[in-house]
Symmetry: C2
Subunit: 232 residues, 2 copies
DNA sequence: AGCCCACTGTGGACAGACCACAGAAGTACA
DNA sequence: TGTACTTCTGTGGTCTGTCCACAGTGGGCT
């Protein structure tokens, strides 16, 4: 086993044992290196991996905010992994779409069953309304679309689903942008997407999970079909 | 932007451009460092991240197999991320279970629609049959159970779903083991699980996606309920 | 012809140094 | 006494140089 892997394992053990709760800082790189009897570069490599996985955040300087702070951003690591693999071209877009359908459809169903927080629902509606602005260019529209989907998934309360979808965000954004560019009459498509968004939110608001699930499924698959992304 | 991030971005760009198809090797660390005008440690940190994400595999020595070879193991990176976050205790088991339900139910539905490869189906059945061995201890039984679920998901042909589920494997294994230990009459539960497995495979084999989806849902949720893991 | 061994290129690891940064502590001055 | 400035200290970021272990490769010896 390589040194940095050993370091990683030791840190992971410590994390499991609750040695450094979220918000706490890991020992300084030099201290950790001495403590574990390894060199600083080895410690750094381990911390790099933790950072890429969204487990810690590093900062230079002095004071409480400096150093490697334990955080918990599942989306960071999952996101980077999904992004890199989609980028490397081996993860087909159709797989990403299908996975979205499964997760988002399930998420809105759960959201409909549990949503009571009107503030959260209002946040979702904000994105829907923002998309109604006729001045909005396509990029900004799609930005709100992404936020809408993520916020909606968040309503399910399932952190893992939210993290995976957040992770897929960049990958989704790139294919959606390509799809939007392929649409002939964008204004009409945009109007339809808006209407579908409203329908989904309304279904969630009235706790109609089955309907919300159904609408979400059609919404994602419909866009994918209309843009012909599947035939590439 | 930090140096290793710049290196990572450059490598990612190269990957996107198809500069190093899968199976090819990245330039040597020293060469890459000189080419990009950075130090070797910075290059190493970038490669470490790629390695953790399952994008490359490194090997010492000489010859074609040495160096950083581009591979594609989405499960590696996603798995590590899910494992670390579940381990860090912030991802509740119920979220993991729910995510499994969504993904696996969808996966078997897709599998039923497309499965024609009898060899792949036979591989799944092997695990089912292996679980029938009365000599099998609980740990080995659960091992086969995990393999069964992953192989089944693989039949869907969706690499992303398979990767995510593979990534969740370790997390799932730990909660399933805890659940199995909480069961009063294990032999009876084991028999039921076996029967459910058979039912799912049969449904997939006769292309009955709806039934397979339904059975899978009940299978996962049933075990979760029976073991009372949700009440902890 | 076959075997052995040195060579070469690779990642793995380490030591040591210097820098940039940001907060903390100490100090000078009003 | 209070405020502003300066210095100190601890932190990650980065680089240089070095050595090691390893695994093919190819030449030379038997």
């Amino acid at each position: 086993m390589r040194t940095h892997e050993r370091v990683l394992a030791q840190i992971e053990t410590g994390l499991n044992a609750g040695k450094w709760p979220i918000g706490e800082r890991l020992p300084a790189e030099r201290a950790l290196a001495e403590e574990l009897g390894v060199s600083r570069p080895s410690v750094r490599e381990a911390i790099r991996i933790l950072e890429a996985m969204g487990i810690v955040r590093t900062a230079v300087g002095s004071g409480p905010s400096a150093g490697a702070t334990v955080i918990d951003r599942p989306a960071a690591g999952l996101g980077a992994a999904v992004r890199l693999h989609v980028a490397s071209g081996t993860l087909p877009v159709s797989d990403v779409v299908r996975t979205r359908v499964l997760l988002e459809a399930g998420a809105v169903r759960d959201a409909a069953a549990r949503v009571t927080d009107d503030a959260a629902l209002a946040r979702v509606r904000e994105h829907v309304e923002a998309m109604a602005d006729p001045e909005l260019d396509v990029a900004a529209f799609l930005e709100h679309d992404q936020d809408f989907h993520i916020e909606l998934a968040r309503l399910s309360g399932n952190q893992l689903v939210e993290a995976i979808l957040s992770g897929m965000r960049a990958a989704v954004a790139s294919y959606v942008a390509a799809g939007a560019a392929a649409v002939e009459e964008w204004p009409r498509t945009a109007a339809r997407l808006r209407a579908e968004h409203r329908g989904i939110v309304d279904a969630v608001a009235r706790h109609d999970g089955a309907e919300a699930e159904h609408l979400m499924r059609d919404h994602i698959e419909g866009f994918y079909r209309e843009t012909g992304l599947g035939e590439r």
